[in-house]
Amino acid sequence: MSLGYYFLLPVIFSFLTPYFKKLGSFTLRGSTILLMLILFLQTLAYTGVTLPQISEFSLKPPLGIAFILDGYSLLFLLIFTFSALIVSFYMVWFFKANKGRDEARFYVFFNMLIAGSIGMILSCDIFNLYIFFEITGICSYALSAYNKDKLGLESGIKYLIIGLIASIFIVFAIMLIYLQIGTVNLGLIAQRFGQIDPKISVLIVLMLFIGFGTKAELFPMNFWAPDIYQGSMASVNGLFSSVVAKAYLFVFFHLFYLFGLNSKYMLFVMVIGAITFLVSEFTALNQTNIKRLFAYSTLGQLGILFMALSTNSSATVSGALFHLTSHSISKLLIFLALGILIHKFKSAKIDILGNFKSGFLTIVLAIGFLSILGIPPFSGFVGKILILKGFALTQNYAAIAFILLVSIVEAVYFFRLTAMMLDKKRTKISVPIGFANYVVLSVLAVLIVLFGVYPSLLTHYTDLATNALLHPTNYLNYALGVGL
């Protein structure tokens, strides 16, 4: 199958959604699950072939636009298509529990959110990447305002304004790149980026940094993220945390290593990541809204990832990619489980964690919490250990001490939440969980434990991804059309 299907199939589905809606909600839900299943199976099929894979549009690169799949994008593709499949099953329960919603339009935005994120990680043309950036953006604005209540609309408006700022900076950077280099192909830009005037190149880097850093929730520009998480639905939060933020992070580091910025700006990104981690974890300590708390926790984890991914050492980067995968799964689990609680209690206060009675949910949530915190035998532990080992190999003991110290702060609120769940003295109300949710949440929990016990299942892909990220020669050859 051609890589173009990753974008074109969801587009056809979205265009036909008004007619699926006429056939009834069963067709609508079923077709979305089928679509996500096709995309996931296609991705699984790609794990067995030689990488990179390429599919061109109209012309061969470097003139035309192409989708290129290398080891780095394969890992993200697996995460995205898997999360999308999980969320599409979860939404069946959600729409059964919340009657009278505009289901068809939700599925339009959901499909295109996934397609846009996938397009961002596959495209080898920076202007094409900007278009996928906007597709993802529009879907996220609409999804965060989906509830059409005060909070939802407010978060939609805020997200839209932030998105406009980011997109203006990215357009400006693309224009300067075209003025200097005369092309928008990533391979040619990577080849020629060193030759342009250093002053202009600093301006371009600054603008790309602001543009993608804002969307990837990096420190000075991430004040908006908790508001967005608070205003939107829990399932959408799961998508934002495990798919959308990761797609922007992918692009950030893809360009970072492709343009050869790692030697110059490594320390800068590391410090920014460290500040993100520190500030977010301390702010998370005194949150009373559960969605906000996990938004800050997501920001903190992204901070660690920014620290570790910018180091240019393969051990640390591999560990970071492991941690990223584990974080995606755990956050998806937590947000989906919280969605069930928030639906029951009609509130997002932190107390709801103490007031529910369901052994299954308690276990599942505890697995999610402990995995993010990095307690063995869950996958988050392996990720954090691998990152720390990588830092130890490069003798960066300051980073190790920093991560361990701030993790204590993290431990404080995660243990507080776990203790609150296990507190027997509180009044407990039993919470109904749909059958689909038992399956969805157990699959995620089992995966967390599985990757924690057998990390080698995942390290194969993270090593592949690390190699492709740090040594993008193959990618460049394909993007330049050499040897096709």
Partner: protein, 242 residues
């Protein structure tokens, strides 16, 4: 008059900041030396004869960078869905009141409608020969409907027809891209015959005019939907306030 009220201190500081940023960016941009390398557009101009399209911008939009246009059409579609999600309220509190309409305006706008739509269609089908194309023509068609709404606030468009046009043209566009994959082994390949001798004629350029006509239908129906939602919004609000 109090100067502080007209221009608060914060605004003065921000304007100074903007000017400082402006000067620094200007200082940088003035030193830009363009044409370090040959632009990809010049290569496209040399290749453009092969597509048999008289308008090089059209061949870049629909063929050389064709997937951009698929994405662009999708963005417009998503925005329309978002606007419909926001503004199509089923449980409105106020009743729809029939407004008095002006006879002359009504008849005049209906007369103009055909002329404007014809002009839009002309722009769409000559997109590969002259300036213009699907997006521009589609927006011109939407302005015709805007005129109708302004003249006659009680009017409403048939949503089933608009949805049909929107969905079918969009799906057909993607199918054109996929047929290219099956016939030419490359997505969006130009699989229709496009002899170079026909350049400048109405039927020339293979799939390029086909794509622009599909884009024209899609943009025209989507922009009409957007215009209708926004004009109805104004109408409902006035009625509610009264």
């Amino acid at each position: 008059m109090n100067l502080k009220k007209v221009l608060p201190l914060k605004h003065i500081l921000l304007s100074i900041l903007s000017s400082a940023l402006l000067l620094s960016v200007l200082g940088l941009l003035m030193q830009v030396k363009t044409n370090l390398y040959k632009n990809v557009g010049d290569i496209f101009l040399n290749l453009n004869m092969q597509t048999a399209t008289a308008n090089a911008v059209t061949s870049v939009v629909t063929f050389f960078r064709g997937i951009d246009t698929v994405g662009e059409v999708t963005v417009l579609f998503l925005a329309t869905s978002g606007i419909a999600l926001m503004l199509s309220d089923t449980q409105r509190t106020c009743e729809k009141v029939v407004k008095q309409e002006s006879f002359i305006l009504n008849v005049g706008s209906r007369l103009l409608l055909s002329v404007i739509v014809l002009f839009g269609v002309y722009i769409i089908i000559h997109g590969h020969l002259s300036p213009g194309g699907g997006f521009q023509g589609g927006v011109v068609i939407a302005t015709a409907f805007l005129l109708l709404f302004l003249a006659n606030p009680n009017m409403s468009l048939s949503h089933s027809i608009l949805t049909l046009g929107e969905s079918l043209s969009g799906v057909a566009y993607v199918l054109v891209a996929l047929i290219g994959l099956f016939k030419m082994n490359i997505l969006l390949g130009n699989f229709l015959p496009h002899p170079i001798g026909e350049i400048g004629e109405l039927v020339s350029g293979g799939i390029i005019p086909v794509i622009y006509i599909l884009v024209g239908i899609k943009v025209g129906s989507e922009m009409s939907v957007i215009v209708e939602y926004f004009s109805k919004e104004d109408y409902y609000k006035e009625v509610c306030d009264a």
